[in-house]
Amino acid sequence: MARIVLDKIAHSYDSNPDETSEYALKWIHSIFENEGAYALLGPSGCGKTTLLNLISGLLTPSKGRVLYDAADVTDLPPEKRNIAQVFQFPVLYDTMSVYDNLAFPLRNRGVPAGKVSTRVHEIAEILDLSLVLKKKAAGLTADAKQKVSLGRGLVRNDVAAILFDEPLTVIDPQLKWYLRQKIKLIHEELKLTLIYVTHDQVEALTFAEKVAVMHEGEIVQTGTPKELFENPEHTFVGYFIGSPGMNFLPCTLDGTVAHVDGTDIMLDHKISELGRKARGKLELGIRPMYLQLCSGSTNDGVPVQIQAVEDLGSYNIVTVMLAGKPIRVRQEEGLPIPSDKARLVFPPQWIRLYADGRLVKSKEVENGKVGK
């Protein structure tokens, strides 16, 4: 396993890029620690696959270096970097048995037959492939093929890293759920460095210890699922993570009160102080699950009009109108929903302020001295 450093990377697909060229990756400086489980999360076109291909060596960066432990591997092709890869579509030898497919990466490197057998059986057991080891890969279902493909990526435990490029895209939800678990279990048991690319936040957040959220060629924030959820540093992270994403309301500050188009929302002391010093267009952000709906007969919160209620099984999404904007509230199943007139409570500890899209926070937090 290796510690992978992306040292001041930028990448353009133009053959001779200059300042005016379009850069798929604008500026990346990142460290992936040994034995960590990381996800690169972002919408289509954000650059995550490009980044993964730079880590694997399928691409050489236009600028910057790639280091595995202290060694500069920037010019080394994938086969010299000692990595394993799992792609979106199964990559296997149709005419070989499942056993032989799993054994191939090991046999190819001269691993003795006894060790191969132990390892193949270990991986087959974790992926529930033990019963089909003798079957030819060609006869398997698409899901089973992808499991074997996954197994081939995981079978070598001496690799620097295992890279996954949206491996569960073609899988049914039930199997996806189960496979995600398996990959995570493998990480727990075998302590491999895993880097996983996806556009699916559920996959990223449940799998990874640290997630790098990407947008338009840049890493906007890297953090644990908790950090990304509770303190998104950019409105994009607030929007992209969470289902539904964060609610944003343009506002102006007046003491400890945020004015949202005629409505007043109380802020806590710390946030309002920081907000006072902030420059730029201010927005108040709060996640749907932190908002609270109460009946219109109380005096808490602000009056809102309920526009729609969606029953999503284990929770409800209630859309209300405030200052002409739709606000979404996420409520657990069984909680009462006021009919028509209601009041919306904004718990101050969950309100975040954004100035020109960036989280307003104290200098100490920014410099990493507090709260990490």
Binding site: G45, E310, D311, E332, G334
Partner: protein
């Protein structure tokens, strides 16, 4: 206006793709077909459209038998998973094409195209070619082309599956608004239970070519008629513990016991399957009637606002969805609780005999 499928069978090279399909859709209705890959959703859609003929049975539109009517003669539009657009036509021409083929006047074509493009937020892209568009924009173009003629039937075959998670979320909301404005019968297929719940309307759960259950989406979710329906219509997967009822006591697994009360006392003694949704398990005892289950932690998955805890009871895997962030160590012994009122109980034939009652507000 109504669409009915009567005793539809579809067999291809001795393989049953569809068996005994019977249902009816009314105009303005939103109908979701939920099923796993290869369950028959696409086959069904193709028969509704007239692209394929059933081996047996009839398709009726407003009582009229259209089974032998070719797709060109039917008022139907279809959206596919792969964003299918004419690559050499601009977005404008793509959307206009069904109207042009139908011989509409130029001014009418222009009005309809612009109106439909605006509905899907692509009015600024009318001069572009599909290759210059993002996936989401291409699919919006395909959807616009399907909507522009205001057909009687609008069929969408997993239209969002090739799009990003977030884009899917947004388009789903947009699509619901779009469907509300149309009188067409909408049939939308998906493999994802959460998508089915979000689309609302009516749901038909299909598996191995057969209809398992049909009804308003939240109703089917809350009362899955058979255990198979509960399995298909669950994400995360529904937990299941086998057990029996005897002398007014329920015994699950080897040591989970609780008294049978109220409506459940009507159930005869015997073997049963007990289903529990992951969010009905809790790490805390909330009610004195909650039953405790001792389990071992296998894995803890944190997804920002909630934690999925994978545990084993004996060797049986169970999943608990807990709000908030709860890191647990692998191998820890923990208790999980469930209120017996939240159990789905299935008899030996796997038919539903009891489901959690919803407390009305």
């Amino acid at each position: 206006m109504s669409l009915s499928l009567v005793n539809i069978d579809k067999t291809v090279a001795r393989e049953i793709h569809l068996k005994n399909i019977n249902f009816s859709f009314e105009s303005g209705s939103r109908n979701v077909l939920l099923g796993r890959t290869l369950s028959g959703k696409t086959s069904l859609l193709r028969i509704m459209a007239g692209i394929d003929r059933p081996t047996k049975g009839r398709v009726l539109l407003d009582g009229k038998d259209v089974t032998r009517l070719s797709v060109r003669k039917r008022s139907v539009a279809m959206v596919y998973q792969q964003f299918i657009n004419y690559p050499s036509f601009t977005v404008y021409k793509n959307i206009a094409s069904p109207l042009k083929i139908a011989g509409y006047k130029k001014s009418e074509i222009d009005r309809c195209v612009r109106e439909t493009a605006e509905m899907l937020h692509i009015e600024d892209l009318l001069d572009r070619l599909p290759a210059d568009l993002s996936g989401g924009q291409q699919q919006r173009t395909a959807i616009a082309r399907a909507l522009v003629k205001d057909t009687d039937l609008l069929l969408l075959d997993e239209p969002l599956v090739n799009l990003d998670y977030k884009l899917r979320e947004e388009l789903r909301v947009e699509l619901q608004q779009v469907f509300k404005k149309r009188k067409a019968i909408v049939v939308y297929t998906t493999t994802e239970p959460s998508e089915a719940l979000m689309m609302g309307g009516n749901i038909t759960v299909i598996d191995e070519g057969r209809v398992l259950q049909t009804g308003p989406t939240p109703d089917v979710y809350r009362s899955p008629k058979t255990f198979k329906v509960a399995e298909i219509f669950s994400d995360p997967p529904i937990n299941c513990i086998n057990g029996k009822i005897r002398d007014n006591t329920a015994c699950l697994g080897h040591n989970i016991e609780f008294p049978i009360k109220d409506r459940l006392t009507a159930l005869p003694d015997g073997n049963y399957k007990f289903g529990i949704r992951s969010h009905h398990f809790s790490l805390l005892q909330k009610d004195k009637n909650d039953t405790e289950i001792r389990t071992r932690v296998k894995l803890s998955e944190i997804s920002g606002s909630e934690t999925f805890i994978h545990v084993t009871y004996d060797d049986l895997p169970l999943v608990v969805r807990e709000a908030g962030i709860t890191p647990l160590r692998i191998g820890d012994l923990i208790s999980i609780y469930v209120n017996p009122d939240n159990l789905f109980i299935y008899d030996e034939q796997e038919n539903l005999v009891a489901a959690p009652q919803m407390v009305s507000n």
